[in-house]
Amino acid sequence: MKSFAKALVSAVALSSAISAAPLMAEPKAEVLHYWTSGGEAKAVKALQEAFSARGGTWIDAPVAGGGGDAQAAVLRARVLAGDPPAAVQIKGPNIQEWAEAGALADLSDVAAAQNWDSVLPETIQAIVKYEGNYVAVPVNVHRVDWIWANPEVLAKVGATVPTTWDEFNETAEKLLAAGIIPLAHGGQPWQDATVFETVVLGIGGVEFYRKALVELDMDALGSDTMVKVFDQMRKMRGYVDPDFPGRDWNLATAMVMRGEAAMQIMGDWAKGEFAAAGKVPGKDYTCASTPSDNGYLLNSDSFAMFNVKGDDLVEGQNLLAELILGTEFQETFNLFKGSVPARTDVPRGEFDECAIKSMDDMVAAADGGTLLGSMAHEIAQAGAVRGAFIDIATAHFNSDMSSQEAVEKLVSAIKLAQ
């Protein structure tokens, strides 16, 4: 069967090669992605147009749904059949895994020509490099550790956006007493994990986050600090409304907009919801980073380039890589998507106040060594380890498990997943 599939694939490849033969080395790229809705679809369209404008042939291969799960299945099948797409939207440690499997192309030449090393923060370079060579191109940076707050609601109890976790708890108690939901939250595992990682960063600090969630240091995972993190999570459980299980994140955002809830902890894709409802940053809502020692949790989408044969395809990959990290595309794309550019030298004129704060903080965090990959969003961890973190965070948040028990379970689950 496998050999039959191979024969079929090579027959198709052959016939397409014959039809493409007269147009020698015209750049061509099949792009596998899961950006199929709203601003994301527009953003991809912008890339497609830029690619065509430079004489390239873009073969669109969108796989809708599942937040990339469906795409991952397609990708696996294509690679196993020996016919990988040219560019694929994957991120975080998945890039390293594919690179280790020998499936990714080396982009060093484009990188050198475009001087990527000087425009990308090191944390991001580490994500897209394998053994020192670029194998993927970062598209954007989403910050995860944000508090989205409704200032009017906070003013009702005489509060502003908290800057420490103690203040957060105080404000939340006051809001509860006033009959307002302090924290808008959706009880889906990834959302629980998003709150969990911001609390790890806040309570434990940057170094603790790095040790526990990035390096998986067993002492850090089993430490008293982690117990305190779960204690804080237990308090947070008291700040959400009883209907939170299963709620989608954008419905939680809407609760903040309507003034039913005061705050939401969510990545900056939440900004798109505010913008779509015509809300103005600074006036209708405020964006502030969650309390921490200048930490910055980033989630970065990227395109990895797979090993393909044929001059036109390689040419297409190089052109695509150049365009994706070009200033122009980084600007248009991120304006559509609500994120900020991965490179640090993009003009800021068009971006809103929250995005500019995000860019400033990213540069500061990169200089101060406090720029970290998000665990919940598959940058610091992926696959089984990320799953284990999410399991424990969500199991603790949705039950009456004690903090001590949660820590013990966390240590054994991470050991099991490694």
Partner: protein
């Protein structure tokens, strides 16, 4: 002249059934049993993101049974499967008996009860999710009527979520069970019933002693159909509870999907699939055995 020709045709006619079923037989052999073997093999390797063919023994099974998520899923399967089968059969059987009382508009009522089966589990799950949502479903409605302390937040409770699954699944399947039983009730020999009632047996006794025992094969079919529905349940969980709160209401099929397609744990996913297969086999094999043995005797 015509004799040899007839012989050839005869031969063709004799092997024709084999020729006709051969392609589907081959396809099933390959795509069902072939892949069962493949999955079994993969479950003994250390496959992570991509399949890997080096055998490492039963390590994936050991890891599987150390996972809290798996023990929750397996326990849920037993609770869900047992309650779903028992309740659906009891309700279906009662409905069938009541419908069997020669009532008016029976056809229409039968159709109404049977219709939920025509709906996909995704729709059932979504509808029940809304019904059971405390802030927009039944709870709010009943409180609006004045019963302030009424509470019905099953999908939001770690301990009750699995029972919410049972409720939705029973709603969907009991009409189908009713149809099964109704046709069986109709095929019971009327003479026996008449004889029993002439002997002075009450209708209740007739059902308990004569009719229900004679329907044993239908009970068996109902159990087998419902059991495999329970074991392969996936979409209902996705739509109704999303496996939550936390992972309190996941079932083995959801676990398998999560491991194989989202966590790069193909070997563990395959191991869980093999355990599910073993569970199905544990139900099916005794059933088939008793059926086949029964046929020989008959």
């Amino acid at each position: 002249m015509s004799r040899p020709q007839l012989k050839i045709l005869d031969r063709v006619a004799r092997v024709l059934p084999q020729i006709v079923v051969a392609p589907s037989f081959a396809l099933i052999l390959f795509f069902v049993y072939g892949f069962i073997i493949w999955t079994g093999y993969i479950s003994l390797t250390k496959s992570k993101m991509l399949p890997n063919y080096n055998l490492i023994g039963f390590r994936p099974y050991e890891r599987l049974f150390q996972m809290d998520r798996w023990s929750v899923a397996l326990e849920n399967l037993f609770i869900f499967g047992f309650l779903f089968i028992v309740i659906a059969i009891v309700i279906g059987c009662l409905l069938a008996i009541l419908l069997d009382q020669k009532i008016r508009a029976e056809g229409a009522i039968r159709t109404i009860y049977l219709y939920p089966m025509a709906i996909s589990f995704i729709i059932t799950g979504t509808a029940w999710k809304w019904i059971m949502n405390p802030s927009l479903g039944l709870e709010t409605v009943v409180r609006g009527w004045g019963w302030e302390s009424f509470s019905f937040g099953w999908t939001n409770s770690e301990t009750m979520a699995v029972y919410a699954l049972v409720m939705a699944a029973v709603w969907q399947a009991s009409g189908f069970v009713m149809a099964l039983f109704l046709s069986a009730l109709r095929s019971v020999d009327q003479d026996i019933i008449k004889a029993a009632s002439l002997d002075g047996a009450s209708p209740w006794k007739i059902y308990i002693r004569i009719i229900l025992p004679s329907m044993r094969p239908v009970f068996m079919s109902a159990v087998v159909i419902l059991a495999h529905l329970a074991i392969k349940s996936f979409d209902l969980v996705v739509a109704l509870t999303g496996g939550g709160p936390g992972y309190a209401s996941t079932l083995p099929a959801n676990f398998m999907y999560e491991m194989t397609f989202r966590r790069n744990e193909i070997a563990v996913g395959a191991a869980s699939a093999m355990i599910m297969l073993a569970t199905v086999a544990a139900i099916m094999v005794p059933y088939l055995y008793s059926e086949l043995r029964g046929k020989k005797h008959g």
